[in-house]
Amino acid sequence: MELQTLIVVALVALALLFVGRRAWATLRPKRDAGCAHDCGCGPAQSGPSDWSKT
């Protein structure tokens, strides 16, 4: 297989993985709050912050 084709296959596979993960993260059933990531309304962040209890 040519190098160009290999790179294209890798890029398309990565893109598919990214789109699939994003779709799952957005639509999976969960009750916790928060914007879908990159919904366009603001960067919803999670994880510890200065205001985390722990």
Partner: protein, 732 residues
């Protein structure tokens, strides 16, 4: 006339610092400061002034109330972490936003520790109302600093506030500020840093003996349940006016009978329990104002009054509203053009250079036809997105948005919605996701559901690139109203109005069927008009623009690559006898994308669409802008070497129906397509947030399903009506 300046030196004359209950927090972690205040006090402006760009946005745990955090460093280098609590008129939690503020301040926040310092932002012009919340916060026993904001406007209105006397009355540091100009912000930072070393605030008035006696068992029970002593006393008094203890006291069920007993005792003593808190606080506030505030002259007609005479006029008000909206949408077209041209030029140039640098083959095609045509085609709309948010920011910051809500209130009530629903609907112009989340401020469950159901009908910023592409391609820039507007601007305005009017109609339908219930009156505060803060506008526009670019660089980039692959494979051996353009068309038609499109085509043919539009609509379910990038990829505009959006517009105009040879996309098709996008819920994120906000699980999916189905039916029906009706009238 105005308030005397208060300097850091004045602050030092306050009660000398003794060891505070909290003591100085350990230096190992930052000082945690919570910012609270009534809505429209300039709290967010002050938060921006304190923290600058060092901000992060998230949500409070378990609820979809936005949580803004930021930080700054004190003079001695200590980090201060600022939490912007939702705007509240009091700690008497009426909505989920207010409940969050209360829970955080009494130490019952789900994932938020008790703050080290609370900054109460009070509007100097409306101290009476603002001091109600302040008096509640003072009783929590935490170090408190009061930021007396908009002191300039109070001075201009003829109010003279004796700040040292106010410090004496409140027992805490008071800093006059003008947040939009950054005045007093440094003094506020110093006051925050020294607040933990000062004695904590406390209740400033005495309860009548009967009330003291009645509330003692309630306070004792709350204290036993883990509330700090002073917070327990504040809660006992506050709960007198609350029908049932709220969710945060669910683990103290036996407080309810104690409250009932306390109410009985107060009634026996001749008091009305529900009024006790308000009467005590406003009684104390009246005394404070009498000693601290003087009015230099009787209040005459202010600038705000004069503007409102027109802006809220029965006839001129709606006319002004329409004119402003028309200006906004015309401005989006006219003023963004130079920047768009510049981005188009850069994207086209880069595409051509990279195309030249790569050897012919699939990788070159992927980069040029997939990435540059797809992502570049969307990126050129960045100036229009920025312009939209600039206008929204100006309308919000100037105080006009509240007037718009007031003008719409009559209409809202006629359709059966609560006036508060207009705010989520306005947010929907930016993005349906925060709009649906903002519906949490609507207390009534049915009203909230009706609001959530219609918010996605408001044209969000993701639809803008689609409208801009189609209007740019098919609507001529004919001058209207003596050149003040063009047909393009009017068409854009029409799309936004169509969504808004339909949202009201659909809400009326919901409120008369599935979500029947009475309309409730709204209390709306109209803030004085202000000159928008450039800094605030810049932060808002920058944040939204970065989001748009990030989206283009992630979701749209990935989808462009996937769609390019679907449009390129499987490779066929084209008919060599055909011209090159026809060979490319043959390859495209037989690709995976072409086959899927052709399978979908019969469903959209009645709307005047071909397979290319069909797959672009389907792909845009991930994000509406993907419609533009998909069309860009399908047409492989990157190869032309021209600017992307311009080239795409030309390709769309030149497209021919392969069977009839006639023009494939007419202005009628474009209008029908825009109408389709006004109504269709082509947004994965909106569906996800509707599921969560309507209860999650099966209930949530049921409401999301209702929303998706009715919007799709509406979109299809309206687009069919436009296209077939237009053809019958001989328009296309």
């Amino acid at each position: 006339m105005g308030s005397p300046p208060v300097t850091a030196g004045d602050l030092d004359t306050r009660t000398p610092g003794s060891t505070a209950r909290h003591g100085a927090p350990p230096d190992a972690r930052p000082l945690r400061v919570a910012l609270i205040g009534n809505p429209n006090t300039g709290k967010t402006t002050l938060f921006n002034a304190l923290t600058g760009m060092r901000q992060r946005v998230g949500n409070f745990a378990g609820v979809t109330v936005e949580r803004h955090e930021g930080s700054f460093r004190t003079d001695d280098g200590r980090r201060v972490a600022v939490l912007d609590l939702p705007g509240s008129y009091s700690l008497s939690a009426g909505s989920p936003d207010e409940a969050i503020a209360l829970e955080v301040l009494i130490g019952r926040g789900k994932d938020v520790p008790l703050p080290d310092v609370v900054v109460v932002v009070a509007d100097a012009q409306h101290l009476e109302r603002n001091l109600f919340l302040a008096s509640q916060v003072l009783e929590l026993g935490l170090p408190v600093v009061v930021a007396l904001n908009q002191i300039d406007a109070a001075t201009a209105a003829g109010l003279r506030i004796d700040v040292p006397e106010l410090i004496h009355e409140l027992g805490v540091t008071v800093i006059p500020t003008v947040a939009k100009r950054g005045e007093g912000v440094e003094a506020l930072k110093r006051a925050i840093a020294s607040a933990p070393t000062l004695p904590p605030a406390e209740r400033r008035f005495a309860l009548p003996p009967a009330a003291e006696e009645a509330l003692a068992p309630v306070a004792a029970r709350l204290e036993a349940a883990g509330l700090p002593r002073s917070a327990a006393r504040m809660e006992a008094l506050r709960l007198l006016g609350v029908p049932l203890p709220e969710a945060h006291l669910a683990d103290v069920p036996d407080v309810a009978p104690l409250l009932t007993r306390a109410r009985d005792v107060l009634e026996t003593a001749g008091m009305v329990p529900e009024r006790v808190e308000a009467e005590l606080r406003y009684g104390w506030i009246a005394g404070v104002l009498a000693r601290c505030v003087t009015r230099s002259a009787p209040r005459g007609r202010t600038v705000t009054d004069r503007i409102d005479a027109v802006a809220l006029h029965r006839v001129w008000g709606p006319v002004l509203f329409l004119v402003l909206m028309a200006l906004v949408f015309q401005g989006i077209f006219t003023w963004a053009t130079p920047m768009m041209d510049a981005i188009e030029g850069v994207v086209g140039w880069m595409g051509a250079r990279i195309g030249d640098a790569l050897p012919p083959g699939d990788l070159r095609s992927l980069v040029v036809d997939g990435v540059f045509a797809g992502v570049g085609g969307v990126l050129v709309f960045l100036p229009q997105i920025a312009m939209l948010f600039l206008f929204i920011g100006i309308l919000e910051d100037s105080g006009y948005m509240a007037r718009a809500a007031f003008l719409m209130d009559g209409l809202m009530r006629r359709v059966g919605l609560h006036g508060k629903s207009f705010i989520p609907m306005l947010s929907g112009y930016a993005c349906a996701v925060p709009g649906i989340m903002a519906a949490r401020t609507v207390e009534n469950h049915k009203d909230r559901l009706a609001t959530i159901m219609v918010v996605p009908l408001m044209s969000c910023s993701a639809r803008l690139p689609i409208y801009a592409l189609l209007i740019g391609a098919f609507v001529p820039p004919i001058a209207l109203l003596g050149g003040a507007m063009t047909l393009q601007g009017v068409t854009m305005l029409g799309m936004y109005f169509l969504g808004t009017i339909t949202a009201l109609g659909v809400a009326a339908l919901f409120k008369r069927t599935l979500l029947r219930g009475p309309a409730r009156p709204m209390i709306l505060e109209l803030p004085p008009y202000r000159r928008p803060s450039l800094r605030n506008l810049a932060i808002g526009v920058y944040g939204r623009s970065i989001m748009f670019v990030r989206r283009a660089g992630t979701v749209i980039l990935a989808l462009s690559i996937v769609l390019w692959a679907l449009a390129t494979y499987p490779k066929i051996t084209p008919d060599a006898a055909l011209p090159e353009a026809a060979q490319q068309e043959q390859q495209l038609e037989r690709s995976f994308l072409g086959r899927v499109g052709h399978a979908m085509e019969p469903a959209v043919r009645p709307l005047g669409y071909d397979w290319k539009i069909a797959v672009s609509i389907a792909a845009s379910f991930a994000a509406r802008e993907v419609f533009v990038s998909t069309m860009g990829t399908i047409y492989g505009v990157g190869d032309t070497g021209q600017d992307d959006a311009g080239a795409l517009r030309e390709k769309l105009r030149a497209e021919r129906d392969p069977e009839t040879g006639r023009v494939a996309y007419t202005p009628l098709v474009a209008i029908g397509l825009m109408v389709f996008y006004v109504y269709a819920l082509m947004c994965m994120s909106t569906i996800a947030v509707t599921v969560r906000e309507t209860g999650g699980g099966r209930t949530g999916w049921k409401w999301a399903g209702v929303q998706f189905a009715y919007m799709l039916a509406l979109a299809y029906g309206a687009a069919l009506l436009v296209y077939q009706g237009g053809r019958l009238l001989g328009w296309g």
